[in-house]
């Protein structure tokens, strides 16, 4: 079996709202797969559908060749899930949480103790094994949640926004652990809205927008899938890009009142037009740069993010040199 996960015409509706719309895709064995999308795009619903937390309105979910609808218990033995919200028992210690998880998977007592110690060591929680989880930081809770998801040594791991809301150190540690798990052969299915994270970690990435998969490929191929160049321009005062100039680019994203990102296949002409627009309206161009599209730009192109989200993304983005 080459496919770890196979979704066939998967649809989930809540009344009139179609949260997941006829999604078909495969995740290969041993792959690190990323599902990118804005908040509310349908990422978490897809994870809930695959893991049996929600039933599909139509379509099929196959995990390691087993149909979730027909053999749920069999399917559940083969994966671990780390949800966005840490689902730990705060009144139990880290050790008790792990032992409880191992009991649910039918692991014998001695083996459960051995694995729990190993995992606590691996995740840097051995010194806190007797402490109640309620006293843990968010990063420690996330590490423990990953440890609990690994107690039965699953072949597939689902992570829903694994580094969401964590500090830089915790995020780095979790990414490091995920890389190691992937090297060890675990298939990883991760949802995130951190594009850089997906770019760094994933073999393949799917972009989901309004419940539909709008792009799916390796990050490299997605980046080269668009022939456009991105122009980032900042004026010295707020303005609106006029309609004729907007027609000259394939996509325009307003980052701030005076700052815009334009996608074009003819950057030279567009830069001339921007200069001419600035001159004719008595404005100065404070900065202008052209760059090859990043995965983030591809994401913006497919999802049509609004300006606010773009601005937030801009703050997260590392500085790049102008060409």
């Amino acid at each position: 079996m080459d496919e770890a996960i196979e979704l066939v015409n998967l649809t989930k509706s809540y009344g009139k709202l179609v949260a997941v719309n006829d999604v078909s895709m495969q995740v290969h064995n041993g792959e690190f797969f990323g599902l990118l999308g804005t908040n509310g795009a349908g990422k978490t619903t897809i994870v809930r559908l695959i893991t049996g937390l929600t039933k599909p309105s139509s379509g099929k979910v196959l995990v390691a060749g087993h149909d979730m609808a027909a053999e749920p218990v069999q399917v559940k033995r083969g994966f671990g899930l780390i949800p966005e919200m840490s689902n730990l028992y705060n009144d139990m210690s880290a050790w008790e949480n792990l032992i409880f998880s191992s009991k649910l998977y039918g692991i014998r007592k001695e083996e459960a103790s051995r694995r729990s110690l190993e995992l606590l060591e691996l995740f840097g929680l051995k010194d806190r094994l007797g402490d109640k989880v309620g006293q843990f930081s968010k990063g420690m809770k996330r590490r423990l949640a990953i440890a609990m998801a690994l107690i039965h040594r699953p072949g597939i791991l689902f992570l829903d926004e694994p580094t969401g809301g964590l500090d830089v150190q915790s995020s780095r540690l979790i990414r490091q652990i995920l890389r190691q798990l992937h090297t060890d052969g675990v298939t990883i299915f991760m949802t995130t809205h951190y594009i850089e994270e997906a770019d760094q970690l994933c073999n393949r990435v799917a972009i989901i927008n309004q419940g539909k998969i709008v792009a799916l490929d390796t990050p490299e191929k997605l980046r080269s899938s668009t022939p456009e160049v991105v122009i980032d321009v900042a004026f010295d005062s707020p303005t609106q890009i006029p309609a004729d100039l907007e027609k000259s680019c394939s996509k325009l994203v307003k980052l701030r009142e005076e700052r815009f990102r334009l996608f074009t296949t003819d950057p030279d002409t567009l830069i001339k037009l921007l200069r001419s627009f600035a001159g004719s309206t008595g404005r100065n161009i404070m900065a202008i740069s052209t760059m090859k599209p990043t995965l983030e730009d591809v994401f913006v192109k497919y999802t049509g993010m609004d300006a606010l989200a773009a601005e937030r993304m801009e703050q997260l983005r590392p500085k790049r040199g102008a060409s």
């Binding site: 937390l53 039933k55 749920p72 899930l81 009144d91 139990m92 998880s101 009991k103 039918g106 609990m148």
Partner: protein, 253 residues
């Protein structure tokens, strides 16, 4: 063979869930306080305010109510709490059936109801007239009662997303049952105003529980009637557990 193995796995899963629930939710000071103080205050209230109820009826009635409330109440808190905290998802993704999850939850409630009612009975029996408990016959009745009542609590609470959603219907149902099941009076006296309604009492699990506890606490014991009580309580428990599993399945849609 495979069916037998999955049944064993489910049972082990249910025991794990039950023992976790007992430790995390039931063996907490507020739960224990509620479980014991509720029957004690009820007993004292009846002792001082309603001396007309004969002591034996008072004791067996309160033991049954202690079991009824002890077994069914905390589930109305646990289900919504686990749904809010996301820990219920941990159970759903575990390789156990939904039946096992429901059974585990119900067993935890049953253990609590059983222990608090037995503890109360042990303390209050010497103070209550002609009580002569027949342990070998009393225990099956109170065990089956605990499971049936806890399973009833599960039916009401399994799909609740907040505590009021579970607690309000649960309290309504329990109060109606207390008034209709002959808890403090013989059924004939309770339905004296309209004997034709007496048949309704036999549609309620509390009626069989009261009868089983009463017969085995101060007699007279009619074994065929006692066996009917046990069978009825068992069937109620099974029916409530099946309903709970079906309701839980519906919440996943």
């Amino acid at each position: 063979m495979s069916y037998f193995k999955s049944a064993i796995d489910d049972f082990k899963g249910a025991i794990s869930i039950a023992s976790k629930d007992v430790r995390v939710y039931y063996l907490k000071p507020p739960a224990i306080f509620y479980g014991l103080m509720f029957p004690i205050s009820l007993y004292l209230a009846f002792q001082m305010g309603r001396p007309c109820i004969v002591p034996e009826y008072r004791l067996t009635g309160i033991v049954t109510i202690a079991c009824f409330f002890g077994a069914s109440t905390i589930e109305a808190v646990v289900f919504p709490l686990e749904r809010t905290a996301g820990t219920f998802d941990r159970l759903i993704i575990a390789p156990v059936s939904l039946r096992a999850i429901v059974l585990g939850k119900a067993l935890a409630g049953a253990i609590f109801g059983l222990l608090t009612s037995l503890l109360f009975a042990a303390v209050a029996s010497p103070l209550s007239g002609a009580i002569q408990v027949q342990p070998l016959l009393f225990i099956p009745g109170i065990v089956l009662s605990s499971i049936a009542f806890s399973a009833l609590g599960t039916v009401i609470s399994v799909s609740a997303t907040d505590i009021t959603q579970a607690m309000m219907p649960l309290n309504l149902i329990r109060l109606i049952m207390i008034f209709m099941s002959g808890v403090f009076l013989p059924l004939e006296e309770e339905y004296a105003f309209m004997p034709s309604l007496q048949g309704l009492a036999y549609a309620l699990p509390l009626t069989y529980s009261v009868d089983a506890v009463r017969q085995t606490s101060w007699g007279p014991i009619r074994i065929e009637s006692l066996v009917i009580d046990w069978i009825a309580l068992f069937l109620f428990a099974v029916a409530f557990l099946i309903m709970s599993a079906k309701l839980l399945r519906r919440t996943l849609k």
